[in-house]
Symmetry: C2
């Protein structure tokens, strides 16, 4: 994997860059739609392409439990199984162990848990999650970490941060000593932890930099902390992270959250918000959010977003899409998802363009100002599943 910063913004820390993976190039800043169970919910791989998606995320925890990483390996890896030919990043599964599974218990060498599906017993170690991600064949693998909750005591965070560093060291060694399964190289990213404590974040970043990973994620955010706190910590971490390596803010977020983090030097994002909110009938537009079920759209013949060129906006009226939601029709979920993914890809693509042309902050302020006027402030914080 290769990463190159093409252009740095002069008035902020924003960067426009390119990530080269075995399955193609990705322009950064980039948003990665979440394909939890081997599909970005409601969409085909063709629709992902048509809407500008360059790289998707797969959830190791879910795929390991169902259909199983061995079955996916037998199917030629996740790319072949789901017929997505572009790059894939897989998480380590650690986040879902902590958020979804039952009876999880952390040992120094890994974490034991029971499946949320059938109660079966499993253990993830730094090595085991590499093995699983080898079977999946993702372009970018993530190390096993503990994502601390919010709020989190200093003592707990300190111990956890050290654990995540130890696991990262083991993961890196195991990654270097083991080969790929599917004939292409797989990069490994480390994850900075440390909760809301600057000294722990600094310790975490420095230790991980010392291990020299191909890329670095900022974890432990988008877990309920205020946006201001998240921005401060993000900026604190990117001040330390190496300039020439990609930076990935895990689980973020709303359109404004993403722009706030781009401004602070983050390159990569993933979040369920565009897809999950779409299925709840909330669509993002250049003018702000729409709750499409609202009565005001009953006979509205306009598209969701007059400036949007997605299939939903080119073809259907708000009145029709509102009807689909009120009638519980799956096509409604599809159209809102197509639109939101198109919007998110437009957002990061435009961020790239504006960084290149030196207008990033001006453009961002204008866009965010419009959203705040239309109530965008009220929208929820990034949520991971």
């Amino acid at each position: 994997m290769k990463f190159r910063v093409e252009q740095s913004d002069k008035v902020s820390k924003a960067r426009a860059g390119e990530l080269k993976t075995p399955h193609g190039r990705v322009k950064t800043p980039i948003f990665m739609p979440v394909g939890t169970q081997g599909t970005v919910k409601t969409l085909t791989p063709l629709e992902l392409r048509e809407n500008g998606v360059q790289i998707i995320l797969g959830n190791t925890y879910h795929l390991y439990l169902r259909p199983g990483d061995l079955l996916i390996a037998q199917s030629g890896g996740l790319h072949n199984f789901m017929q997505w030919s572009g790059p894939i990043l897989t998480d380590s599964g650690g986040f879902q162990v902590f958020s979804l599974s039952d009876l999880r218990k952390i040992d120094p060498d890994g974490v034991r848990f029971q499946s949320h599906l059938d109660g079966s017993h499993h253990k993830f170690t730094p090595q085991k999650v590499i093995d699983i991600q080898r079977n999946l064949g993702s372009d970018i693998m993530m190390v096993l970490d503990e994502c601390t909750p919010h709020p989190c005591s200093y003592e707990y965070a300190a111990n956890s941060t050290q654990l995540t560093i130890d696991w990262a060291r083991q993961a890196r060694e195991y990654w270097q000593d083991n080969n790929d399964v599917h004939g292409h190289q797989q990069a490994l990213f480390a994850i900075v932890q440390g909760s809301v404590y600057n000294d722990l974040r600094e310790k975490s970043v420095l230790a991980l930099i010392d291990l020299d990973f191909p890329g670095y994620a900022i974890g432990g955010l988008a877990v309920g902390e205020p946006a201001g706190k998240r921005n401060t910590i993000t900026g604190f971490c990117t001040d330390f992270l190496p300039f020439d390596k990609p930076r990935y803010l895990m689980g973020v977020g709303t359109p404004q959250d993403i722009l706030d983090a781009v401004e602070r030097g983050v390159d990569m994002f993933d979040c369920v918000i565009p897809t999950r909110n779409a299925r709840n009938g909330t669509v993002f537009t250049t003018e702000g959010k729409l709750v499409i079920k609202a009565g005001q759209f009953k006979d509205d013949q306009q598209p969701l977003d007059a400036e949007c060129t997605c299939y939903a906006c080119k073809t259907f009226s708000r009145a029709y899409i509102r009807h689909l939601f009120n009638a519980n029709e799956i096509l409604g979920l599809r159209l809102a998802t197509v639109h939101n993914i198109h919007f998110y890809m437009w957002l990061v693509g435009e961020a790239y363009n504006r960084i290149k042309s030196g207008e990033f902050l001006m453009w961002k302020e204008e866009l965010v100002g419009k959203w705040q006027q239309t109530g965008e402030r009220k929208q929820e914080t990034g949520i991971r599943i």
Copy 2:
């Protein structure tokens, strides 16, 4: 609307023909996917086209209640509302009044009922359902009828058949005295009733022929009667129906049901089986049915149907589609629906070709023989919603 029989089969009553509507030509025999609430469930209009759909069915009862025929009229009619530019047939809503609504009561002039959605009170008359279908702007409208249940006493069927004839007369007069709303002509089909009683069926057909409609449907079947009985009544009716008018068997059916009726001279079909069964994970293939969730497909790398050219079969393995169903992913419902609709359109298209080339019965027997070997006999009878 114009209809022309292009070719009659020499050894059966099957016919290949063409129906000319204000929104395009339709080759018959034809299957009309059901778009109950302004969408063929899970699919876009583009996908309907891509999979060979020529005409769809809309449900007047559902669209009248939600979003309302006036709203659809304001949106430029059902074609414009749902962005389907091909022909549309709408039913009269009568069937759903009898199967879905509460507290229905038949008067000589129509039927009163309460909405299954909110309990609100409504009345459908032969005239009212024409008004609604004028607002929807379908290419083919259906008269209000009473679809008798199975089993049904002779006395009940006799009275009901007379009622349906009376309503058809009123509908025809009203249709001729009133204009379209959306600038294109709308045909009106009558519906033959009479339950399982030959003399009532004969009386019904002769009375309706006397009124001279542009097309004739056979109703009151696919309501639980044995397939043999359905075939007998269908053949009895088509013996009386005019050769030069299209014949539509309402609510039928499975692939074999359709071929049985084509053999007996039926031209048009609608049924929820391909779409509903798809969402339950049952797919139709040239070799018979597959229940895709079955364990035998766990690591099956073949497509659903090796002979099929639909997007699902060209792209994905049975193992992947099975996983989608097991993981409750909407993409699974979509792919199975795409496949089943493609299969049904292949089936009627091939019936047309084989009638034209004089091989219909031979082809049918071979195909049905294959299905029966693989358990096709066990599949359920046609169901309407």
